[in-house]
């Protein structure tokens, strides 16, 4: 966890320095704002990882001497199959087509999107199919 945090914090630090130099030198706002936002976007997860890395003991994947047995147990819950990504994708497709061909396409689009959101959430809670 420590290395992950350091990568993100390091990148954020570099973007911050670059932003300071650029903004002061050029007085151009668009690039300055974007670099500043890039710095924040690195600090956000980087800070989170760093905060956690100080409060947890090294995971098996951070331990250079770990054996496969030290990682025994549940890795995570993975769905076997799910129809909801496809439903959500098609809903989003219709929403985007509504931008081009007319607002009425939002009806099937948002319908599919909400259906998929509810279905996908319920699947996650219930355990779903596999």
């Amino acid at each position: 966890m420590r290395v992950e945090a350091k990568i993100l914090l390091g990148l954020g630090l570099f973007f911050g320095l670059m932003c300071a130099v650029y903004w002061n030198w050029s007085l151009e706002n668009a690039g300055g704002v974007m670099m500043f936002a890039a710095m924040l976007l690195c600090f956000l997860p980087g800070g989170y990882y760093y905060w956690w890395s100080r409060r947890m003991k090294a995971r098996p994947e951070d331990d250079p001497n770990a054996t496969q047995e030290s990682g025994a147990g549940v890795v995570g819950a993975f769905p076997g199959t799910s129809i909801w990504p496809f439903t959500l994708g098609m809903g989003t497709f219709f929403v985007v087509l509504a931008l081009v061909f007319g607002i009425w396409l939002l009806v099937p689009g948002l319908g599919l999107v909400f259906w998929a959101m509810i279905g996908g959430t319920a699947e996650g809670r219930r355990g779903g199919t596999h």
Partner: protein, 568 residues
């Protein structure tokens, strides 16, 4: 949902314990799958189809330019063709092929994970990519034709007065969809790499390909939101009467270029880094050596990522409204980590056992082609030389050298990892023909374009009637494009000819990384068992005990046992 346990505990033998037996079959299986390998294969097939479509556009463009006053297509059609050629190749082929197709398949296996961290999000990424591609290409079938403002869509040319048609809106819509697809893949890759590594797979034991994909994912997360925001602004300008990019309403057209290139230049590295990673793996495996300067390589990748956010305006030197020295030095500095990579690749081959398989030949072709593209890129980082060559064919030649190098690297990746996913090798003889046509075609195609650019031929012109002397060089370039087309056909022929013909075995290349430890194709959750991970080459360490990587000054122990025969 299935709780996936670590392999040693969960599954004893390949014969039971799978979900795939009682899942849906046929097209429903394809639609409902969340298996990263099947999603990755869908990505691969879709991206290769996009490569063929974009390539077909390129062939029409080159045929038009074969004569100074060509009338194969009209001026309007020509604008649509090169816009869609660039868009298809950048948005729909190169990126998705790298981080959708190969990363999706390979990264989880390389770090010993059972799947991506968010399998359903992964499936959603694919559907957004597919529908985005359909949306963008459907511009050809609406009145007014497809988008025709160049793949960079500079405002105010892209506003509703200059480009009124639905094709432009479909282009924006398609980009929004593929943009979100990329962002979700980026999130997924980061989470997978941070949370699903196998025990002992520390960050500094990850294969270079996985490292490069991590950095790519971070860059995606930093860059793509900016593009998406820009597209939303562009859409609002077109339809809701805002004047963000229009002078008449008090807006600033150059703002679009800032937004676009703040995404666009990191995008160059989002495209390139995955292919750098593939080449690194391939060169190391086919030289039978560890990656030379492994840590330096990672440092170089991270420096490229860090610098890539500070160079966007080198695309805007000739606007006259950007800070030239800052962007010049930042752009020049990127040459340093890129050079480190080049020397590390050479160092990997040095004193190795270089095996000229098709994958390795493609990787070597990448080295030469990328060297040309990289060196000509240095010129463009210098504002005076950029003023000289900007928007001429020199720039076109420069980035086509780079992207043809990436195509070579991508083909290397397909020849190298294809057997792992399908279980079958491709024909090496046809593969070598494909390599030579692709490699020679790329040089014949790009080299005349450099000269044309220096002679002053601008890009994006359908005719060059005022200087008919350019015809000879254009014809040569067209010939190169035809040779590249032949190589693409050879690839398709190879896939057909080799279909389920040459079983690959689990480890055909004596590979280094975890994907070569599992079966070909890997089982549903990738592994029946994992080796002990003590370096970035767990499979190699397992197969060749006593041949660990050495530091400078270290030497093999004298009482070295005779090396065993390679696996294949």
């Amino acid at each position: 949902m299935t709780d996936v346990l670590n392999p040693p505990v969960h599954i004893e033998s390949p014969d039971h314990g799978h979900d795939e037996h009682h899942g849906p079959t046929g097209i429903l299986k394809w639609i409902t799958t969340t298996d990263h390998k099947i999603i990755g294969l869908s990505y691969t097939v879709t991206a290769v189809i996009m490569l063929v479509i974009g390539g077909a556009f390129a062939e029409i463009i080159r045929a038009q330019l074969a004569s100074p006053n060509g009338n194969l297509v009209s001026l309007a059609q020509y604008n649509e063709l090169f816009t869609m050629h660039g868009s298809v190749m950048i948005y729909l082929f190169a990126g998705p092929f790298a981080f959708g197709a190969l990363a999706n398949i390979i990264v989880p296996i390389q770090i010993g994970a059972p799947d991506m961290a968010f399998p359903r999000l992964n499936a959603l990424s694919y559907w957004l990519y597919l529908t985005g591609a359909i949306t963008m290409l459907s511009g050809f079938f609406v009145s007014g034709g497809a988008a025709n403002f160049g793949w960079v869509a500079y405002a105010p040319l892209s506003n509703s007065i200059n480009t009124p048609g639905a094709g432009a809106d479909l282009w924006i819509g398609g980009l929004l969809l593929t943009g979100f697809s990329a962002i979700f893949t980026g999130v997924n890759l980061c989470a997978t790499i941070f949370y699903l590594r196998a025990p002992g797979m520390t960050m500094f034991r990850m294969p270079i390909f996985t490292w490069n994909m991590l950095v790519t994912a971070i860059l995606i997360l930093l860059a793509f939101p900016v593009l998406t925001a820009g597209l939303v602004m562009l859409y609002c300008d077109r339809h809701f009467g805002t004047h963000i990019f229009s002078v008449a309403g008090g807006g600033v057209p150059v703002l679009w270029q800032h937004l676009f290139w703040f995404w666009g230049h990191p995008e160059v590295y989002i495209l390139a880094l995955p292919f750098f990673g593939m080449v690194t793996e391939i060169i190391a495996v086919f030289s039978r050596k560890p990656v030379f300067g492994y840590k330096g390589m990672i440092f170089a990748t991270l420096s490229i990522a860090a610098l890539s956010l500070g160079v966007w305006a080198h695309h805007m030197f000739t606007t006259g409204v950007v800070l030239l020295p800052f962007f010049s030095i930042m752009s020049l500095l990127i040459a340093v980590p890129t050079g480190i990579k080049m020397f590390n690749w050479i160092g990997t081959m040095w004193r190795g056992q270089v095996w000229f398989s098709t994958a390795m030949l493609m990787a070597l072709g990448f080295l030469f082609t990328f060297l040309i593209g990289g060196l000509t890129g240095i010129y463009l980082a210098s504002p005076p030389l950029d003023f000289f060559t900007h928007d001429t064919y020199f720039v076109v030649a420069h980035f086509h050298s780079v992207v043809m190098a990436l195509v070579l690297a991508g083909m290397a990746g397909l020849y190298y990892w294809g057997p792992k996913i399908t279980g079958y090798l491709l024909n090496e003889a046809i593969g070598k023909w494909q390599f030579w046509t692709l490699f020679i075609g790329s040089q014949v195609f790009t080299f005349p374009l450099y000269i044309l650019g220096l002679e002053g031929m601008p890009r994006r012109v359908a005719v060059y009637a005022h200087d008919a002397q350019w015809k000879a060089l254009n014809d040569l370039s067209t010939l190169g494009a035809v040779i590249i087309g032949v190589s693409t056909i050879l690839f398709v022929v190879n896939v057909v000819v080799s279909w389920k013909k040459y079983p690959a075995g689990d480890n055909p290349w004596d590979g280094h990384t975890l994907e070569w430890f599992t079966t070909s194709p890997p089982p549903h959750h990738n592994f029946y068992r994992l080796p002990q991970i003590r370096s970035e080459r767990p499979t190699w360490d397992y197969n060749h005990p006593g041949h660990q990587a050495l530091h400078h000054g270290q030497h093999d122990e004298p009482s070295q046992p005779a090396p065993e025969a390679p696996v294949s």
